[in-house]
């Protein structure tokens, strides 16, 4: 049996501050990415969804201490020599980010940057790279590819720049694409185009996708499975329909209740009171307890670990089972 494409076990990240203190930003993340699947990672700012992937790929810099295990296709990534990392990063695992124009080099043409990626990741010579670059721009739906290769990033729109970033990601023929808020900076109709393009590429190549987003709607429409993060931990994981139809963690339920609808009757939004705790100042017990309607003494005292609630559905909440039971009763009534 083939090992999973990416396996993350007990991943922790500690940051050293100027006064010698260490602050834990990630508290033991477990995630498995299988081939040809799409995983959504949702959570509010500071929940640790981006840091998880930066840490897994060794992109966090010297101040971060990383613990735990990350393997790609069975080979360890954490602690691996730079050469081994370079063979995977950008090539078999590609990343795209929120702001495409700041990820592209403003002083080089699009063609130059695509060519560089192709030489680096595929070992193509200049001639072959030029042909392949045109092919890639066609692939991501940029009209007049030959002309666009001569353009600088500032001459292109935000949507087109994100297409260029996707083309660069595809240059290494990756097994998985980590897309960190790929459409957050784009207009709605352009967001729809980019998400459609990602779906099409996945259909054609079987590339796996990790979609990091604060937008539950974007995740709902584009992934098979979702992990919800809060304050540096995963608090709930489930298949997409299961999560949206039967959320078990009060934080997930809160996020859904806080989101306005586009159709159906207008209802008052239920805001989650308070704010996300700072990384160095997590409460004892459950990190969500101070903002939670369901919290009791047990929640303030002990931190719940992830437990199976339903098949393929885990949640880290002392009350998840009773929430599930009450809901089943309500459904029957």
């Amino acid at each position: 049996m083939k090992p999973p494409l990416i396996e993350i076990r007990g991943l922790t990240v500690d940051f050293e501050t100027d006064n010698g203190r260490t602050i834990r930003a990630l508290h033991g993340i477990d995630l498995t990415i299988e081939r040809d699947t799409a995983l959504g990672l949702v959570g509010e700012s500071g929940s640790g969804k981006s840091i998880t992937w930066l840490a897994a790929l060794g992109l966090l810099g010297g101040r971060a201490r990383i613990g735990g295990m990350v393997t790609f296709d069975g080979e360890p990534l954490i602690g691996a020599p730079v050469q081994a990392l370079e063979a995977v990063r950008g090539r078999r695992i590609a990343m795209i980010f929120q702001d495409p124009s700041s990820s592209l080099n403003p002083v080089h043409t699009v063609g130059h940057q695509l060519g560089e990626a192709l030489r680096l990741h595929r070992g193509l010579d200049a001639g072959a790279a030029a042909i392949e670059a045109r092919h890639l721009l066609d692939r991501v739906g940029i009209a007049g590819a030959a002309r666009r290769l001569q353009d600088y990033p500032h001459q292109l729109s935000g949507g087109t720049n994100q297409r260029v970033m996707i083309a660069m990601a595809l240059a290494g023929q990756p097994d998985v694409l980590i897309a960190d808020e790929p459409t957050t900076a784009l207009d709605a109709t352009i967001q729809a185009q980019i998400l459609d393009l990602l779906r099409e590429i996945r259909r054609d190549t079987g590339m796996a996708l990790v979609l990091i987003s604060h937008d539950l709607g974007v995740v709902a429409e584009n992934t098979d499975q979702v992990a919800v993060m809060y304050a540096g931990r995963i608090v709930e994981t489930a298949l997409i329909d299961e999560l949206f139809d039967r959320p078990r963690h009060p934080y997930t339920r809160g996020l859904l209740a806080a989101l306005p609808d586009l159709d159906g009757p207008r209802r008052p939004l239920r805001a989650i009171p308070g704010t996300v705790p700072e990384p160095g100042r997590l409460p004892a017990g459950c990190s969500f307890a101070p903002r939670c309607d369901e919290a009791d003494a047990a929640c303030a005292a002990t931190r719940p670990s992830l437990r199976m609630i339903d098949p393929d559905h885990v949640a880290a909440c002392h009350h998840a089972t009773s929430i599930a039971a009450v809901e089943r009763l309500e459904r029957r009534a």
Binding site: D187, A188, A192, Q193, H214, G217, A258, D261, V276
Partner: protein
């Protein structure tokens, strides 16, 4: 009909821009806002939606007199808006406040938030210092800030708390109209809901009217009594939010609605994916400005610009095809 608090008629904002080569660029006219008209009654909310470059923020600037209009009129409470920086304009500006997207950028990092909330009182020389402190505490309480937070600096507060500070500062002079430009876009979902609920609550209690500008259709539907959809400087559809978002009459509204991913009711709506980028406002398009991206465009759309006209259900729409039936088949055909 209730008297309008704000009445905007055929508002235009154009400027000459040079484009092309470094030496002999030709001059073209950029129509940022191209004939916008609407009215807003006291205590009501007009939502303005559209993508970047559609002119929604420029419209806000024109309404407040922060940007001079090329032509058209803005009437506030039955009076023409006085010229900017005149005493009459300053007197009126007390009743007309604005809130922007980025609360940190709108606050001074060197002053405590309490002093910043009091600042409009000082500028408009309204009451004495003791009276100020009392009013700051009152307004802070009504936006949900604690008294202890008034001595803090902006960086010591969370994003949602900062947006409350900005709201408190805008509300302390008890304005009749608040123009909000993407007021919750930078906030996390749970905090966004807090601020949206706060705005609705303040409107119910104080009777403030809002012009609420946002790219987020879901938030706009939540707060608005009326919605105007803008495309390239013009209103293309205007009316009841449920009417517009559930049965859009303009193909652009339809595309915008279908582009919004939703967590609930997944994949139940037809998808309309527009080709091409939002148009460059500097390139004049003959006929309907939307026709190059429109899945339903016919020959007439390429030559004749559609005027905004009322439909029997009360909305206004600028589309040659917006008759019941015709548009539906047009879009369905294009999607298949």
């Amino acid at each position: 009909m209730t008297a309008a608090l704000l009445e905007v008629t055929d508002l235009k904002m154009q400027y000459a821009v040079r484009r092309g080569g470094p030496f002999f660029g030709r001059t073209t006219t950029l129509r940022a806002v191209d004939g916008v008209s609407f009215r807003l009654e006291p205590g009501r909310t007009l939502g303005i939606v559209g993508e970047s470059g559609c002119g929604k923020s420029t419209t806000a600037g024109l309404v407040l007199g922060l940007i001079p209009a090329t032509s058209g009129t803005v009437r506030f409470d039955g009076q023409d808006m006085p010229a900017p920086d005149t005493p009459a304009w300053r007197a009126l500006r007390r009743r007309l406040q604005m809130v922007f997207q980025d609360p940190l950028g709108a606050l001074d990092r060197r002053l405590t938030v309490g002093r910043q909330i009091a600042e409009p009182l000082t500028i408009h020389q309204d009451g004495n210092r003791r009276d100020h402190a009392e009013r700051v505490r009152e307004i802070a309480a009504s936006v949900g800030l604690q008294a202890s937070q008034l001595d803090r600096y902006p960086h010591e507060l969370s994003g949602g708390q900062r947006q409350r500070v900005v709201l408190a500062r805008a509300l302390i002079l008890e304005p009749s109209l608040l123009v909000c430009d993407e007021p919750v876009s930078a906030l996390d979902v749970s905090i966004q809901a807090q601020v949206v609920n706060l705005l609705l609550d303040l409107q119910a209690r104080l009777g403030i009217a809002y012009v609420f500008i946002s790219h987020d259709l879901k938030v706009v539907r939540q707060v608005s009594h009326d919605v105007a959809v803008m495309y390239l400087g013009r209103i293309v559809e205007h009316g009841d939010p449920d009417l517009l978002f559930m049965t859009p009459a303009h193909p652009y509204t339809a595309a915008l609605v279908s582009a919004i991913p939703t967590a609930r009711a997944r994949r139940s709506r037809p998808r309309v994916i527009l080709s091409g980028d939002p148009p460059d406002p500097m390139t004049a398009v003959a006929g309907c400005a939307f026709h190059p991206r429109c899945p339903a465009a016919i020959a007439r759309c390429r030559t004749e610009s559609p005027a905004l006209r009322a439909l029997p259900d009360g909305r206004r729409v600028a589309c040659h095809l917006a008759e019941p039936g015709i548009l539906k088949t047009g879009i369905a055909h294009a999607v298949e």
